[in-house]
């Protein structure tokens, strides 16, 4: 599945439409939570491949270390213990960017080229173009991007765009010991997900479901959840979509209209000036005592 090159289909604050004649493979990363043993190999491989070394924190009475995604931890295993149907379930979720088909971060970003969506579906941050405003954090329905104070740049999982560009699978997927993570074309992965659903339902997980939220036109990183009816138990939003407020706030139409209207005031002024001329103090009809200057 060699990807000759990664074509950009959309970029943040993009004026012109990028070249999009080529149709490359659209990738899919399946996270089958029913196979995940929470071993954090993906978290370790992500840190190791991307040369990130987070702080050594302290134990807060949880297996989730560090406590939240941050600029040095783009992938994080979240653990929570839940009683479901009288049976103790240890729900373990691999948190990180879901690479939405309609990314809220990209819409919100004001900096050209800071966020790009490749033709294979990966949404990648190009930190060199990032201006550090954090709008992407506001735009993201899953609260994934993290601002790094040291350099005011925002970071998140890149789905290893560098590896995928040269035809390799992402580091976390290669290392997953139990094949909870699988990579391939999105339809292959969806097919695999449906196959896994069948197995799960046989094992008594009637509510098993695929979490590929339509609210963001589906994601390129999607889940098979044994308890599909309660994604929030895993820490996933129930019905995520790019918030309408963000859609209005960052809609090109609204902003285009705003710019045009703003400048039309000045244009109107010019037209008014040409038509009516300046408002000047009329020459004094009654002579006034003239003072020699």
């Amino acid at each position: 599945m060699a990807n000759q090159s990664l074509d950009v289909v959309r970029q943040s604050a993009g004026m012109a439409t990028p070249p999009s004649a080529r149709k490359t493979m659209v990738v899919g990363k399946l996270i089958d939570v029913s196979r995940c043993i929470g071993c954090k190999a993906c978290q370790a491989a992500c840190m190791e491949w991307n040369d990130l070394r987070d702080q050594v924190g302290s134990n807060r009475g949880a297996y989730t270390n560090p406590p939240d995604l941050d600029d040095q931890s783009w992938c994080l295993m979240r653990f929570n213990e839940v009683e479901i149907g009288g049976r103790l379930q240890w729900l373990i979720l691999k948190d990180g960017c879901l690479h939405c088909s309609n990314p809220g971060c990209l819409d919100a970003c004001p900096a050209p080229g800071a966020i790009v969506q490749y033709s294979n579906g990966i949404v990648d941050f190009h930190e060199e173009n990032c201006i550090g405003c954090g709008y992407c954090i506001t735009g993201c329905p899953f609260n994934i991007p993290r601002l790094r104070r040291a350099d005011s740049r925002v970071y998140k999982c890149t789905l290893c765009s560098d590896r995928v560009a040269v035809g390799l699978e992402p580091a976390c997927i290669k290392t997953c010991p139990t094949q909870a993570l699988c990579f391939g074309s999105k339809e292959d992965m969806l097919e695999l997900a449906h196959h896994r659903l069948g197995d799960l339902r046989e094992r008594g997980f009637a509510q098993a479901a695929i979490y590929d939220p339509p609210g963001v036109d589906g994601t390129h990183v999607f889940f098979v959840l044994p308890h599909g009816d309660r994604p929030e138990a895993y820490g996933l939003p129930k019905d995520p979509r790019v918030s309408p407020v963000v859609q209005v706030w960052r809609s090109p139409v609204a902003r285009g209209f705003g710019v045009v209207t703003m400048f039309s005031v000045l244009v109107a002024g010019i037209l008014h000036y040409m038509r009516h001329g300046p408002l000047e103090v009329p020459e004094d009809k009654k002579p006034e005592e003239k003072k020699e200057p």
Partner: protein, 805 residues
């Protein structure tokens, strides 16, 4: 492991008890998940904690730490009561039909032949009844009252589901569900694989825990079968290799045993180790013991080992007792040891009763630590505040810390759990002045030899005559050493079957252990490794992953001992007539002339089925042992409480509470806590993010699990007013530690013998040296007592108290 990692995918039921493979062996655990997918296998987990293995299990049952035999005894009883056994397998391949001598008895917790004053049994009282020509008597109908089968039935009648639930705290219905699941693998077409690790071995009844599961697997006919077996998930990457090479006090390479004071000369030494078959027609492979021993002596002492000096028999020390680590540190604490070398080992962290270990080390004259990392042991004399409160000035030990290479900086081979010897290549230079381990040992030996050549000294012969044929004397190279333990022919070895042909020519690397001779014409450092570096080159470096049978038998990947067999006892995968038990898993069949299949037969290749040779070729009986007279604490596993038990007595037999045959030093008996002072059961274990005390030196490991903590149940936390994340003081009779507390639903409060039993889970990974937060070494708490047979310390079940810090 009897089988290997990839073979786990063939199982229909995966029983994980006494281990936590999802955390300790994640990449091996892939094959459990594969079994769930491929054969709709069920995963059953029994553990004091709801581990990450349990997180993906189909069935999880909590159990009180230290009561595995009660549980497994209950399973044996269930199988026998419901006749859920593979009868034909049991009759043909186990010693169920064997008849035991009349005076065998078991009463009030003790087997016959117990000698109170020395805490040991006279094991001859458990022998089989022999007929006139020395063969054991058998009754294939299994009806004789003293046949092993009936004795087993009577012994485990007491383990009713009620008794088991009362002892283990496992809810009765869950226990019966698990028994039913296990019983479902009795038919030939279904197999169960048992995955266990230190959860079973680190008890005072450790060896018997494993024996109990071996008996279950034998009753179900799962040994030798693809997807079956009793699989030990070993710890370190080459712990299997060093066990095979015999780096234990009582062993020599290839599972040969050290001479004892009871073996004054070679004849008596070989006599007691070369068994005669107990049943006619058995291969009884240990009959070749002399060949292996003489070849070893030739490899070690070369020309100096000759027929005249009994192959340098006296060069080997003779043991007066077992010098296991507990015995050695007991001697050390009595000041009877002067020097100690820790090669890639951190005893201050990994041995029980850390304060006793620290005091012992302080009495040494010199300590040498050879390690790629700076370990706690190398700075045991340094004060690290509350974590290592010692007075350096009063410690007179001279300490050397020598830097050694790590895996990436040396060539060599490692043996994994599946007995695969895998070669690895050096990728980078070591940092600073670090040297390879073999080089350091070589440097030391060359200097010692020089001193003995110059000054002489006590019994210099073995040192001066040690075969040292290496290109660079002070730095033996990996390939040379590998060729040495594979072995070569010192003279032509004629082939007995074909006159004029030779099994091996002089100077050639041996193709396997078959050509080994007892006449000194062959040298072999480790007979079970013979075949790893043959004339065809380094078999351990082979990298063909093909698996033609699809059953995971990748015969051309690296090399597996013995003789590249990937599943041991694989003859037992076929019925006595040579037909595979399970047609879907045709592993080995008799094709009329010889045994063929997808693995190297663990059997005499050309022995026809009707010759009656049984699959267990290493045993004198030729069959597997349900009855094991060689165990020191009883032919059958019996439930004994841990030495620190939360109960006041043993409900099964109040007079005998803990393992009567375990060795307890006087000083240590006083250091056992009682349930009154320390009411909570504690168990120590690993997490998946760390490897013992090793990965706390890695930044990513430290980020994933930064700080020491203990896990307690919500009810215990409520009782003690402890909130999640609070600091707590966990204390035992031997010391105390201060760590964070994690309040979790994953540890159950168990109902045992009418009381509520709480468990404190203690991960062990932290210490006062490393990138993680500095912490106590948690073995400050653990008891200094070991398993009766092999002295593995009882880390998994002891008593603590816990209070808010």
């Amino acid at each position: 492991m009897t089988n290997n990692w990839v073979d786990i995918k063939n199982a229909n039921l995966v029983m994980v008890m006494g281990g936590n493979p999802a955390e300790a062996h994640p990449c091996g655990f892939k094959w459990v998940i594969e079994a769930k997918v491929k054969n709709k296998a069920k995963l059953v987990v029994v553990d004091p904690r709801f581990t990450r293995t349990a997180a993906v299990a189909d069935l999880y049952a909590p159990i009180r730490a230290g009561t595995d035999i009660a549980f497994l005894g209950g399973v044996i009883n269930y199988l026998l009561q419901h006749d859920a056994i593979q009868r034909e397998y049991v009759v043909a391949y186990t010693n169920a039909p064997f008849i035991v001598r009349e005076d065998f008895a078991f009463a009030e917790g003790l087997f016959s032949g117990y000698k109170e004053q020395i805490h040991a049994y006279d094991k001859t009282r458990w022998a089989y009844e022999l007929d006139t020509d020395g063969y054991a008597k058998i009754d294939v109908t299994l009806s004789h009252p003293r046949c092993v089968f009936q004795l087993m039935k009577k012994h485990y009648e007491r383990y009713t589901p009620e008794t088991v639930s009362d002892l283990t705290g496992t809810p009765r219905d869950l226990f019966l569900q698990i028994c039913a699941a296990i019983a479902s693998t009795a038919p030939a077409a279904r197999t169960m694989t048992s995955l266990y690790a230190l959860g079973w071995t680190q008890h005072s009844v450790g060896s018997q825990n494993i024996r109990a599961m071996a008996m279950i697997q034998l009753l179900l006919g799962n040994i030798g079968m693809p997807g079956g077996g009793v699989n030990a998930l070993r710890g370190h990457s080459n712990i299997q290799g060093l066990t095979d090479l015999g780096l234990l006090s009582h062993q020599l390479p290839g599972y040969l045993t050290m001479p004892l004071e009871g073996d004054p000369d070679l004849a008596s030494y070989l006599g007691t180790r070369t068994p005669k078959p107990l049943r006619p027609g058995q291969l009884n492979y240990w009959q070749n013991y002399p060949k292996f021993f003489v070849s070893l002596q030739k490899a070690w002492y070369g020309a100096a080992a000759s027929k005249e000096n009994d192959w340098a028999y006296d060069y080997l020390p003779k043991l007066d007792k077992v010098y296991d680590v507990l015995a050695v540190f007991e001697l050390m604490s009595q000041g009877k040891l002067e020097g100690y070398i820790c090669q890639g080992f951190n005893p201050l962290g990994s041995f029980p009763d850390k304060n006793k270990i620290s005091k012992g080390l302080a009495k040494l004259k010199y300590l040498v630590s050879i390690d790629p990392l700076k370990t706690e042991t190398s700075v045991f004399w340094q004060n690290h505040g509350e974590f290592n409160d010692v007075d350096s000035a009063s410690i007179a030990t001279e300490v050397f810390r020598l830097p050694s290479t790590c895996f990436a900086e040396e060539d060599g081979s490692l043996v994994n759990s599946g007995r695969w010897l895998q070669w690895h290549w050096k990728g980078a230079e070591p940092p600073g002045e670090a040297k390879g381990d073999a080089e350091i040992i070589g440097e030391l030996f060359v200097r010692l030899r020089a001193l003995y050549r110059k000054e002489g000294g006590a019994f210099p012969d073995p040192i001066l005559n040690l075969a040292w044929p290496y290109r660079v004397a002070r730095a033996p190279a990996p390939d040379e050493l590998a060729k040495e333990y594979n072995g070569w022919a010192l003279a032509d070895v004629p082939d007995p079957k074909q006159p004029g042909a030779f099994l091996a020519r002089e100077g050639e690397q041996l193709p396997g252990f078959a050509p080994l001779q007892a006449d000194g014409s062959t040298a072999c450092g480790c007979w079970i490794f013979a075949g790893s570096w043959t004339q065809a080159g380094n078999q351990m470096a082979r990298r063909d992953p093909s698996d033609p049978s699809g059953l995971g038998a990748t015969l051309n990947w690296a090399w597996s001992w013995p003789a590249n067999r990937r599943i041991l006892y694989n003859r037992a995968s076929a019925d006595p007539s040579g037909k595979p038990w399970d047609p879907d898993r045709r592993y080995l069949t008799w094709n009329g002339k010889k045994w063929v299949g997808s693995d190297i037969p663990d059997y005499k290749v050309d022995a026809a089925p009707d010759e009656g040779m049984s699959p267990f070729i290493m045993n004198a009986e030729g069959v597997a042992r349900l009855w094991a007279p060689a165990m020191v604490d009883g032919p059958f596993p019996e439930h004994y409480e841990p030495f620190e038990t939360p109960l006041d007595s043993n409900p099964l037999h109040p007079k005998v509470i803990s393992n009567p045959a375990a060795r307890v030093y006087p000083g240590d008996r006083e250091r056992f806590g009682t349930a009154r002072e320390f009411p909570y059961v504690a168990t120590t274990y690993r997490l998946t993010e760390h490897f013992h005390f090793w990965t706390k030196h890695t930044r990513i490991g430290a980020v994933l699990q930064p700080e020491a903590f203990v896990e307690i149940s919500e009810s215990l936390a409520a009782k003690k007013g402890i909130r999640n994340g609070d600091k707590v003081v966990v204390s035992s009779k031997r010391g105390q530690i201060v760590v964070k507390a994690m309040v979790t639903k994953r540890i159950a409060t168990l109902k045992v013998a009418g009381q509520e039993i709480e468990t404190v889970g203690i991960p062990l990974h932290w210490g006062f040296v490393g990138v993680t937060k500095p912490s106590y070494l948690i073995n400050t708490l653990t008891p200094f007592v070991g398993d009766a047979n092999i002295q593995t310390p009882e880390f998994k079940a002891f008593l603590v108290n816990i209070v808010k810090a």
